[in-house]
Amino acid sequence: MASYKMHLLVCGGTGCKSSDSMLIVDKLNEELKSHNLVDEAKVVMTGCFGFCEQGPIIKVIPDNTFYTKVKPEDAKEIIEEHVIKGRSVKRLLYVDPKEHARVSDSKHMGFYKKQIRIALRNCGFLDPENIEESIAREAYGALGKVLSEYTPQQTIDKIKKSGLRGRGGGGFPTGLKWELAAKSVAEQKYVICNADEGDPGAFMDRSVLEGDPHSVLEAMAICGYSIGASKGLIYIRAEYPLAIKRLKIAIAQAMEYGLLGKDIMGTGFDFEIELRYGAGAFVCGEETALIHSMEGERGEPTFKPPFPAVSGYLKKPSNVNNVETFACVPVIILKGEEWFSSIGTEKSKGTKVFALAGKINNVGLIEVPMGITLREIIYEIGGGIKNGKKFKAVQTGGPSGGCLTEKHLETPIDYDNLIAAGSMMGSGGMIVMDEDDCMVQIAKFFLEFTVEESCGKCSPCRIGNKRLHEILTKITEGKGTMEDLELLKSLSNVIKDTALCGLGQTSPNPVLSTLNNFWDEYLEHVVEGKCRAGQCTALKKYIIDPEKCIGCTACARACPVNAIEGDKKMPHEIKQELCIKCGSCYEKCKFNAISIK
């Protein structure tokens, strides 16, 4: 194998790829070729670096120089300056949002400083389409160790002791789940990987599958050995073509290398993995719905028990874990359960990947130790609120999580603290909101998603969420009453108590948490007819200041509904009953005479 002095890692995740990162790879290769450097430096297409906001990204190894927002035409300069002359291309370096200075390498970037990457350990480091690169970073080492040194029960005990909990949302202890499936007696059992990532904005599972597919395949085999299953199924949404492609390549390569298939590593253990495609229904992330979808039935949940560990896919015992959960398993085996459990809080061990989004400077995928505070994530890793605005809330746990506020900023993040605060871990969505966001609108926005994604099986979720959404709409239109606020609360609680599955039971969270944390904002909407964020159009009021208005008639001419009256050179007036709040007058006025109340 050739050895190179320098590696140019180019992000090949979905985000960067759609910004032409593949063209960058080609251009870099062309330049290397034209400078006769193909034996000196190597261009590697890797998985996601996580800092998607700044993509396409190139990282240069060994010096960790981190180039952001690279364009294909920058390839020439990178090769000529960095590779040949050893000088970094300053203009492509990351600018720290607080210091406003360029940062020389990734080690000094606030975005990465507090991160500990376990599930994402290989994302951005290796070529996911080349199994040898994965093997060089210890892929299948854990499987080998388990097969040769541990009994299934010993393996399960290690996972139990590590404290690993399900990363898909529920937070059920993984080792315990494996143990339940192991105890079920059946000729055929299944290991199922839940790759039906459905939270809007969350893409950690996709990143792992695109950037490090072997870690998941290996973990599934370890799980298969532990519970006595010879078959693995990955339920992946068909909207993830790149992840599907890389999984297929990875499975084929692992089969070729004898790391999957019959008699793995000569130990007599057989394990095969197949892909199953989902059509992108959010509810199919719920494990019973997922199983029904794989069976060809309508993707809707059924009552548990029976749990999949007893009666799952084709009524056989099945263990369902999420991608990120699986990605942690090989590291736990290799580095030891004590190492893993030394990270995190008392009841939540290890790390969690979050998809940081919203009104924050550093949008992207981050992996942080459990127990980190929201403040550290938002202000240190996230680089603070965009455009110097004021922080208002952060929504965690995806569409059915809750909105946390200023008072929660110091709370150490783990499964239990989030639930206690009225939110949840979910699969790790984290959306930051600033003073310009209306919390009623936010609750309505998330409700819209669950209304759309409810399977429709149980009445509270099918009809109840629709009614919650209607009441919220009424409030944002300025027609809400105090009774509506009471109804919101009581209906939300009934839905939580009576819905069939996790989706329905958590869908009122955005409503309840905003009612709890932003009650005064709801009151303002209902009692004062006011939206402080100015997001509720119906509550906006455009007013002309007669002191400032010179009667130029520009606003009256711009008004599409002739709601503005006034003689030339005389102060004008907006007839509120006619105004449709389009804002045309506001934009036209050159004298700042129009204000929004």
Partner: protein
């Protein structure tokens, strides 16, 4: 939906475990649900989507409506009683304020997405949602909002008004698990989720057999039969029309239920009196045509059997009965490659129509166009059957209007009120005489028993000492019986419920069937459990009472073998010649069609 769970408690079924319900110590069978356990001690928990077909071993308990939620101490959410299995030491509270509030809210939600046209709804007074709303004291809907609307679907037999669907999924269970037709399933998501044929096709374009089992279990007015009574009333009011009526055997043992009589009360004479009093010009009996069916189908069986015994390799055996229109639709859709196996004999309804509009019209001196034939059937598929093109002459159907037992009850209530105090009357002649063999057509196994009574005597030349063939009776879904035809062993198969019929058909297709003749009825129990009968909501004791009444009616007859029916003999002598004559073939036999092309593969 049947939940298969293999918890250790279920494995030790029959073991009793201790639980507490509303503070009461209860010993309940392990593996049972909270709902079942509560029922054993007289604590009733309201349900809506739940349905238990004990005899078929199929439950519909998707846990979807959430009306049956109860509190289980130690659990944070409320538990649906219909699917939650009891566990040792479980403490259940069925009537706390939390439960009552949740139940009422859930009901309000369901009602908020349900039309308020109760006064003119076909299920008014029989609607389970209506009753539940009353029982739970719902007087106000706090959540007015958008209601879901869907394209209405009118077929000749069934009307789907999905605006009223509450997603209980009972119809889906009947269609898929019991009947294995696979027509109805949940489609769409969220608020627009509804039960419908694939791609929201109309039922007529789907593989629907119109058996009506779906509408028989629908708790609301989402699935109802087509109401033909207005057309019947119009015909009765038309002085230029002669309106005659035929009544199927199963109607007379169930009609009384609609007037508060116990299940299994025979009201044959009162029914005849009622029909006459409503104004039908003649009141005839479909049983007459059932005897005629036996003459044709029995002769066909003997013909095929004789050919088979003589070594004819091309003869199709087993012979399948063809009286049931749901069953005919089923094999036309699902097994069209085997459509040359069923008997070509028309159903009794259609035989009656064909003879009525020829032989009888002449006798009555009425022109075909002026004769209106109404049938009263325990069935909704009969409506579809009567509208088949092959059963019309120049567009004029042999049977003009088919109404169900329920519709007849409605007609009686609208006109003369009640039947209980009517004096028994007898059917008109001709086409009014029937034998015991014809009556038992209403029960599963009855057609084939009737056929055996006749075929045996004709084949062996001997008189049957005992006309009851007990080995053909019963309620198991698939049954087999052996009949000794003078040393020749005849193997008879019986299936009721289309899921059971499918099994027998698959055996035939694979060459594994050893039967000479098979009777199939689409509805569980046969016609007594038909989709047009008074609703029994899966209560098998009602079906059993009706079945017993059918056998009583048979026993009460002096003539119990079809070939001894004097009027049938007269019909052959005067008009048809002999069974399977050319004329009989023309009027009393039919052909079947391949409808599979309509099935989406």
């Amino acid at each position: 939906m049947k939940n298969v769970s293999l918890t250790q408690f279920q494995l030790n079924k029959m073991a009793l475990i201790d639980i507490k319900i509303n503070g009461k110590e209860v010993k309940a069978e392990a593996g049972s649900t909270i709902l079942e356990a509560a029922h054993t001690v007289g604590i009733e928990i309201p349900t809506l989507c739940y349905m238990n077909l004990h005899d078929v071993g199929i439950k519909n308990n998707p846990g979807g409506c959430r009306v049956c939620v109860v509190e289980v101490v130690g659990r944070k959410n409320l538990a649906p009683a219909c699917v939650t299995e009891i566990m040792p030491g479980m403490e259940i509270k069925t009537n706390t304020i939390k439960v009552i509030n949740a139940r009422k809210t859930v009901l309000e939600l369901i009602l908020s997405d349900h039309p308020f046209d109760c006064l003119i709804c076909a299920k008014n007074g029989k609607c389970q949602l209506q009753k539940l709303a009353q029982d739970c004291g719902v007087r106000e809907i706090h959540f007015p909002g958008e209601q879901s609307t869907y394209k209405p679907d009118f077929s000749p037999s069934i009307i789907r008004n999905m605006d009223k669907c509450i997603m209980c999924r009972r119809c889906e269970t009947m269609c898929n698990k019991v009947q294995t037709c696979g027509v109805l399933s949940g489609i769409n998501r969220g608020f627009t989720a509804v039960v419908a044929p694939a791609f929201e096709q109309d039922l007529v374009d789907s593989p629907c057999t119109f058996c009506g089992q779906c509408l028989a279990v629908c708790p609301v007015g989402a699935l109802t039969e087509v109401d033909n009574t207005p057309k019947v009333i119009r015909a009765l009011a038309d002085p230029t029309k002669t309106v005659i009526v035929q009544t199927a055997p199963a109607v007379r043992v169930a009609l009384g239920e609609e007037f508060g009589l116990p299940a299994g009360t025979r009201v044959t004479g009162k029914m005849v009196a009622a029909l006459r009093s409503i104004g039908f010009d003649k009141v005839y009996d479909t049983d007459f045509a059932a005897d005629l069916t036996i003459m044709e189908e029995g002769t066909e069986l003997l013909d095929r059997l004789t050919k088979f015994l003589n070594g004819d390799k091309n003869v199709k055996l087993p012979l399948l009965t063809s009286c049931c229109p749901g069953w005919v639709n089923f094999f036309e859709h699902q097994f069209p490659d085997m459509r040359d196996i069923p008997s070509s004999a028309k159903s009794p309804q259609q035989m009656f129509g064909a003879i009525a509009k020829t032989y009888m019209a002449d006798k009555l001196g009425v022109k075909r166009e002026d004769l209106v034939v109404v049938s009263v059937m325990p069935c909704v598929a009969k409506k579809f059957e009567s509208q088949r093109e092959e059963f019309k002459v120049n567009g004029n159907p042999d049977v003009d209007y088919s109404i169900s037992t329920r519709e007849l009850a409605l007609l009686i209530k609208q006109t003369i009120g009640d039947i209980k105090d009517l004096q028994d009357e007898d059917f008109d002649r001709l086409m009014g005489e029937s034998t015991g063999a014809a009556v038992i057509f209403g029960n599963t196994g009855g057609v084939i028993e009737a056929a055996c009574r006749t075929a045996y005597e004709i084949f062996t030349g001997k008189t049957l000492e005992k006309v009851e063939f007990e080995q053909l009776r019963g309620f198991e879904g698939v049954r087999a019986g052996k009949i000794d035809f003078n040393g020749l062993e005849i193997n008879i198969g019986i299936a009721h419920g289309l899921g059971n019929a499918r099994k027998l058909l698959e055996d035939i297709r694979e060459g594994k069937s050893h039967f000479h003749a098979i009777e199939v009825m689409a509805c569980p129990g046969g016609c007594i459990g038909g989709g047009g009968q008074p609703l029994h909501h899966g209560d098998s004791s009602i079906l059993k009472a009706r079945a017993a009444a059918i056998y009583e009616e048979d026993e009460s007859k002096t003539i119990r073998k079809s070939h001894e029916n004097k009027e049938v003999q007269q019909l052959y002598a005067e008009f048809l010649g002999k069974p399977m004559s050319e004329k009989a073939h023309h009027l009393l036999h039919t052909e079947y069609f391949d409808r599979k092309k309509k099935t989406i593969e």
